[in-house]
Amino acid sequence: MSGQPLLIFAAKAVGILAVVLTAATYATWAERRVAAWIQDRIGPNKTGPFGLLQPIADVLKLFFKEEIVPAPVDPVLHFITPGIIMVGVIAATALIPFAENLTLADPPVGVLLLLGISALSGYSVILAGMASRTKYSLFGSLRAAAQVISYEIPMALAIASVVLMAGSLSLVDIVKAQSHLPFAITQPVAFIIYLIAVFAETNRAPFDLPEAESELVGGYHTEYSSMRFAWFFAGEYAHVVIASALITTFFLGGWYGPGPDGVWWFAIKTLFFVYFFLWVRWTYPRTRYDQLMKFAWKVLIPLGLLNILITALIKIWG
């Protein structure tokens, strides 16, 4: 907050939230268009120019749909879980340094806070399955529980080597440490580990096992309909946008870029990674569950540990 007047701070907060949520909404449109293009189709192009009003039509449709709450669910949990995923995503927005002077909060332990918050969205997925009390949902959340825990470790390891390089847990300082060279170049292994782990963290293909439509109907959100489903859906896409923003922050030097620095560099990099998420989803098939776990524990985590060790040694002697 650093002593800004409250009004300006509030305006910034609302503005950033609006931009992030709009981006998340339009990520659904982008997902459908990109999927269509990759599969030699056209995609939604009738609602407004280039189908740009499609997300609005979708939201309206979801609003007016009948809300079906199955009899055996736990009513309280079933009601609050769609909210939790959004709370996690929105809270993470506050920590992201969009530009030099465009950060809502820069706590000295920003990275730790972020890891905590991102674990929260995992909770919502796990609780959703438990609250639904049906087998498909439960299987979805079982998978989510194992997957989120397994992939949080390599993710944290990758971030740890970034923190070692920057010498700070503050996100702004981490970006500032990349003013000359982004960490994607100086820490390529950590970058790749993070990139892979983040797909598992956001439950996106090829690691979308918690919602694997072909085996689990809809996974953890099978029993959700209407707006409650929409929250999960929006949460997933908001998560994709936030995750892209975090990749930009940790590894691509945030607002720094060739030419004039500024928020546009941040936007361009983030949008590229949003596209990357969609691109990967429509390229690779879903992995098998044992492959997923094996990959985390036998490849990513040892590699991450080794990377930290080497980074630390270079830091000491280099």
């Binding site: 269509a36 293009w37 990759i38 030699d40 189709r41 056209i42 691109w279 990967v280 390229t283 690779y284």
Partner: protein, 214 residues
């Protein structure tokens, strides 16, 4: 190592398709705006024909109703008034009803009809919001006087030149279209064009090469 290379190759292929389709999509027919040409022997909604002078061709012989396997046709014959004839025979169809929902579009009625009354048209947008509207009555079935349906299927064993007397105008057009269709089939060039839809440039040739090797 090979696996990692394959990952990037996969991304490259999807990216190529993405870029190609942003620029130009070759597959999709934007249905309500664009419509595909139907093949000349497409068999959709029944249409009933008139003579050139506007009289109805149907003589209410009931052969079509008799052969129809799903009983989709209902006809009531009437005595043809001599002073104001409706058809050219002794009888005419006072009621001619066809149920688009029961019809299986087999075309038997077209074959059975002795007077080239029934043809199958290319009208395939038959969906409505009630079952009653799926039952077509005489007004809807008979083409208006002086009008020819855009496309008409006359049965497997009839051709324009087989018609006795003066051939109707539409079968001649149909015949032309059929010949065009047959020619297109013989010309391998058309298939060359089709190939482009399925594969990216060069991919097809490579596939053939590979198949020849194994």
């Amino acid at each position: 190592m090979k696996g990692i290379f394959a990952l990037f190759k996969g991304l490259w292929i999807t990216l190529k398709h993405n870029v190609k389709n942003v620029a130009h999509n070759t597959f999709t027919v934007q249905y309500p705006d664009e419509k595909r040409d139907l093949p000349p022997r497409a068999r959709w909604a029944l249409r009933l024909q008139r003579h050139e002078d506007g009289l109805e061709r149907c003589i209410a012989c009931q052969l079509c109703a008799a052969i129809c396997p799903s009983e989709a046709i209902y006809i009531e014959g009437g005595e043809n008034p001599l002073d104001n004839p409706v058809s050219k025979g002794e009888r005419y169809a006072a009621v001619w009803m066809w149920d688009a929902a029961r019809c299986i579009y087999c075309g038997f009625c077209v074959e059975a009809c002795p007077d080239e009354v029934i043809v199958m048209s290319d009208v395939y947008e038959l969906a409505t919001d009630s079952r009653e509207k799926l039952i077509w009555d005489k007004d809807r079935l008979f083409v208006p006087p002086g009008v020819q349906p855009r496309q008409a299927w006359l049965g497997y064993y009839r051709r324009a030149e087989d018609l006795d007397g003066k051939p109707l105008e539409f079968p001649a057009r149909l015949h032309e279209k059929e010949m065009e269709y047959a020619r297109a089939k013989e010309e391998p060039k058309k298939f060359e064009e089709k190939k482009e839809f399925m594969f990216l440039e060069g991919e097809y040739e490579e596939l053939i090469k590979k198949e020849n090797r194994t």
